[in-house]
């Protein structure tokens, strides 16, 4: 007779941290890009950003770029790579330097090559947030090799 196997877990037994979701996120933009084109990826991410990040957008409108800085730093803290990002505020300018993207690192280590649309999860999302708050956004550099990036928000 085979053994009966049981796992019984409470939500509190584990941390909510499933890095495979980075691959799933990229597969989403890849599908939209391959089937509907680049503009559709922009359209999709614009709708996502306006819907999901509306509380963040409201906070930036009231508190300024400090709220965006906290948001970006929190992303890297959640991903367990807080030292991979450096954010500097100088008046109405927020400069961000990413030494290596944890998502790109994970995807590549898993044998999955991120699509050419993956960068848009940074560039389009940030551009939409900036515009909604009356700021400009510029993606200064991005490395497809490891996701290292440099970008800024400014008036």
């Amino acid at each position: 007779m085979a053994e009966k196997l049981v796992i019984d877990k409470n939500a509190a037994d584990n941390e909510y941290f499933h890095r495979d979701f980075h691959i799933s996120g990229d597969r989403g933009v890849r599908y939209v890009g391959e089937n509907y084109g680049d503009d559709a990826v922009v359209e999709y991410l614009e709708k996502f950003t306006k819907a999901y990040y509306s509380p963040l957008i409201a906070k930036i409108k009231s508190d300024g770029l400090k709220a965006m800085k906290e948001h970006i730093e929190n992303i890297y803290a959640v991903e367990k790579y807080p030292d991979n990002v450096a954010c500097t505020i100088d008046g109405e300018k927020l400069s961000v330097e990413v030494s290596e993207c944890p998502a790109v690192k994970y995807m590549k280590e898993s044998g999955y090559e991120p699509s050419k649309w993956y960068v848009m999860l940074t560039s389009v999302v940030n551009d939409v947030i900036a515009k909604e708050c009356g700021y400009n956004f510029e993606m200064i550099s991005y490395s497809e090799e490891n996701g290292a990036a440099s970008y800024k928000f400014f008036k």
């Binding site: 196997l5 999901y52 999860l121």
Partner: protein, 149 residues
Amino acid sequence: MVSCTEFIPLYSELFKYLEEKGGHDEVVKYWEYISDTYVADLLGKEVAGKGLRGCFDYWSKSLNEEACDFRMELDEDKGEFTIDMRWCPSKGMLNSLEHMEPYHDYCGHCAVLYARQLEKYGIVSDCFDMSKVDEAKCFERYVLAEKKK
């Protein structure tokens, strides 16, 4: 980067976007695409050599990483594998977002993604109770096709 903890709203909005483009059929087409190009490699590999035990091993990893509140049972004598999801963090997160509406058939992806691959290995969905997804709960039972006959 969108953090992996913020993926679920991104996924939900993708389903909405695809439905705008081509209706619910387009969303199902996407689920089938993901099943064939992604789940096939992960779940398929587990099940190919181990049968129902492969289901147990596959979901042991993903449900723990997703911090689900669940009970999973494998009874190889009965040829049965069940997941009693008492609280799904993904659906729970969507339900808790007051500022955005989840995709109306968000949980539908689970029914398509896995059953489609398992059928290739003689494992079929015997029950997928989604009547309580509004409470982030569901129940799934997979059985060996030969036992279901």
